[in-house]
């Protein structure tokens, strides 16, 4: 564990303050811009700071939107259109926030996949990994509730479908749904509490992000080779090296973000959400935003009850099983540090794991496609196979690989290969 280092500011005023309230030391010990960092981090390590930047974009644009938005079923849709038409640069702020959600998820998904490939979840970084998953769960809740706020058709019906899932929980399910709705259907109280929580949760996320960064500081950054830092030769100060690299990555990422924001602001949305919510008209197909599609596919893939064979006794009905599968798809990631017992962290030195990693990525893409289709014809079958493979990857493949995979020899230190590559 990294030891606590007291800050000794040279500036007199800062030193005076530090003696009375050691905030500079606190920030240095939790974040620390001059933290010694592995010298070999590649571009996949950019996506953590990118996700952080997107959180800031979302919070700032969201606060401005909240100044103009009205959380009332009769006025919400109109207030969003007012933002688009009459508020100065309202269109910019709203398109930034709507597309920002997608780009936040893009950054986070790449960040998670990077962690999966390079074994970032392994000791001593289990807590760091789990805090990341907590952030991911909070993001999903926040994004879901945010999508309800414009009170379009997809807002309303998405909220109806997703909140109804909780009714599958035995005994308390219906009470939970009533609590979520604040009544007996998705209505004004639902919109009000979703707005309240949508404003609250990003700050909870920000808090967990601080813990996430602190855990990273304590357990040190991982690195593409997956080997521990052996000497100071393996490290460089975070600033200016990774600050400039992160800034470069951010500029590239923002350019792609801006392309969507300014030239195809509605490409990632659903046209039905430009129709005001109507509880009497169900849209042709209810699809969540793209970043939920794999989990939506897992939810819908289960269409069979589990019961006692040759009797009519149902132990777990299909709906509940689907809900369990959907939540389990994320919960299983919490156990990843103990499911994958391979001593080697990085996929670079795991020839078989590497294949299975890419199979998992393909599986996620397939599930994303399935989630966007109507559950007809061949799609439910593909969805079920995709779901089965998803769980098999974590529960069967990874534990077996740890036992039987022959890993490649690890390099001596981070500094050596880096030096060689530079020559």
């Amino acid at each position: 564990m990294a030891e606590w280092i007291d800050a000794k500011p040279k500036n007199k005023a800062a030193a005076w303050l530090e003696e009375r309230l050691p905030v500079i030391g606190l920030v240095n010990n939790v974040v620390g811009v001059d933290t010694p960092t592995p010298r070999n981090l590649n571009y996949w390590w950019n996506f953590g700071s990118l996700a952080g930047l997107m959180l800031v974009v979302q919070i700032i644009s969201g606060i401005v939107l909240a100044m103009h938005y009205t959380p009332n079923t009769l006025m919400a849709f109109d207030s969003v259109e007012r933002i688009m038409r009459d508020v100065n640069y309202g269109w910019l702020i709203r398109y930034m926030h709507a597309n920002g959600a997608s780009f936040f998820f893009i950054a986070v998904y790449i960040h998670i996949l990077r962690g999966l490939y390079y074994g970032s979840y392994k000791a001593p970084r289990e807590v760091l990994w789990m805090l990341g998953l907590v952030i991911f769960l909070l993001m999903m809740a926040t994004a879901f509730m945010g999508y309800v706020l414009p009170w379009g058709q997809m807002s309303f019906w998405g909220a109806t479908v997703i909140t109804n899932l909780f009714s599958a929980i035995p005994v308390v399910g219906d009470s939970i749904v009533t609590l979520l709705w604040g009544g007996f259907s998705v209505d004004n109280p639902t919109l009000n509490r979703f707005f309240s929580l949508h404003y609250l949760l990003p700050f909870v996320i920000a808090g967990v992000v601080i813990l996430h960064i602190w855990a990273k500081k304590v357990s040190d950054s991982g690195n593409p080779l997956g080997i521990d830092v052996k000497s100071s030769a393996d490290q460089i100060p975070f600033h200016p090296f990774y600050t400039v690299k992160d800034a470069f990555g951010a500029a590239v990422f923002f350019a792609i973000f801006a392309t969507f924001l300014f030239y195809m602001p509605n490409a990632l949305g659903h046209p039905d959400n430009y129709i005001p919510a109507d509880p009497l008209v169900t849209p042709g197909s209810i699809v969540p935003e793209w970043y939920f599609l794999p989990f939506y596919a897992i939810l819908r893939s289960i269409t069979f009850d589990i019961g006692i064979p040759f009797t009519d006794v149902v132990i777990i009905p299909a709906k509940l099983l689907g809900v369990i599968a959907m939540f389990a798809a994320i919960l299983v990631l919490f156990f990843l540090p103990w499911l994958d017992r391979s001593k080697v962290r990085s996929g670079k030195f795991r020839p078989m794991f590497r294949w299975f990693f890419w199979f998992l990525v393909i599986d996620m893409v397939v599930l994303t496609i399935v989630g966007g289709k109507k559950p007809e014809g061949i799609w439910p079958v593909i969805g079920l196979i995709g779901t089965a493979y998803y769980f098999a990857h974590f529960l069967v493949v990874l534990p077996l690989l740890a036992k039987f995979e022959k890993t490649l020899p690890l390099p001596e230190s981070i500094a050596n290969p880096v030096v060689k590559a530079a020559e």
């Binding site: 010694p36 010298r39 590649n42 571009y43 996949w44 109109d78 259109e81 688009m84 038409r85 269109w91 910019l92 398109y95 997608s102 893009i106 100071s232 030769a233 490290q235 460089i236 100060p237 200016p240 090296f241 400039v244 690299k245 800034a247 470069f248 500029a251 590239v252 990422f253 350019a255 792609i256 801006a258 392309t259 969507f260 924001l261 300014f262 030239y263 602001p265 509605n266 490409a267 990632l268 949305g269 659903h270 046209p271 039905d272 430009y274 129709i275 042709g284 197909s285 699809v287 793209w290 599609l293 994303t368 496609i369 966007g372 289709k373 109507k374 500094a415 880096v418 030096v419 530079a422």
Partner: protein, 264 residues
């Protein structure tokens, strides 16, 4: 490495956009005709002459049944109309505004800041006059349908006789571009139904094109400002990317040379 990463991201984004597209394309309706529109593409702008003709169509034809609740008379200035003309148009309508001293609803002539009045007092009245179907508000229609502008154009010009095996219910018309094929709206655009102020021949295709240009403007009034700002933002970011890239290369040089920054 940078190129490789950029390429990976580009592919991923294209894939994501593709899924979003296929997810929307549900329904058995005929795929819309693909037209060319001046507002498409990164430098797209509105064809104001066409949008003005479209406004004439909306005012004389569509507004008999369809409201345009987010469109205000003053917005017509952005289509190139003079203030006097806008005031005169607004004044043609009567709007209810507050109550008088006796507590009765007060009516006045329309003003530029008023929204375009709805042809029906409420959805029930709209449904009663239209065989049970409420004509949708058109303020956002160009964005509220998949492939909106092409869909609207195809729908407006796509009325035809129902095929032999298809029977349209009473009061409905057959239109293959409409989901299910049976649409409550009778064919709205007949050749010569309006006489264009600028002398353009009012063919069905011309009117459909003009009204789509107008409705796209109404749905996305800030499109030109958006395209313009986007260009500036991207140029700025491009310069920033180049500057940061070379700064990074320079700053990282000692690292690449294997320097140990912690050697005392």
């Amino acid at each position: 490495m940078t190129m490789k990463l950029a390429k990976t991201i580009a592919i991923a984004l294209t894939a994501v956009a593709g899924f979003a597209g296929t997810a929307m394309g549900a329904g058995a309706a005929k795929h819309p005709m693909q037209m060319e529109w001046s507002f498409e593409g990164p430098t797209g702008t509105y064809d104001l002459a066409s949008a003005q003709r479209g406004w004439q169509i909306y005012k004389n034809v569509c507004s008999a049944c369809h409201s345009l609740k987010y469109f205000r008379f003053r917005n017509l200035a952005e289509l190139g109309y003079e203030e006097d003309m806008i005031k005169a148009w607004a004044a043609e309508y009567t709007v209810v505004d507050g109550v008088d001293d006796a507590g009765d609803p007060k009516e006045r002539n329309g003003l530029p800041q008023d929204a375009f009045p709805s042809p029906f007092p409420n959805p029930e009245a709209a449904a009663a006059s239209n065989g049970g179907a409420v004509p949708p508000d058109l303020s956002l229609i160009a964005k509220a349908r998949h492939d909106g502008p092409n869909y609207l154009y195809s729908l407006l010009t796509g009325y035809e006789d129902a095929p032999a095996d298809h029977e349209a219910p009473a009061g409905k018309s057959y239109n293959p571009y409409f989901p299910g094929g049976n649409i409550s709206m009778a064919p709205p655009l007949m050749e010569g139904i309006v006489e264009y102020e600028d002398g353009t021949a009012a063919t069905e295709e011309q009117m459909a094109k003009d009204v789509v240009n107008f409705l796209m403007y109404v749905a996305e009034p800030k499109l030109e400002a958006r395209h313009h700002m986007g260009l500036n933002v991207l140029l700025y970011l491009l310069v920033l990317v180049v500057v940061l890239y070379f700064s990074m290369k320079k700053i990282w040089k000692p690292v690449k040379e294997g320097k140990n920054f912690y050697k005392k």
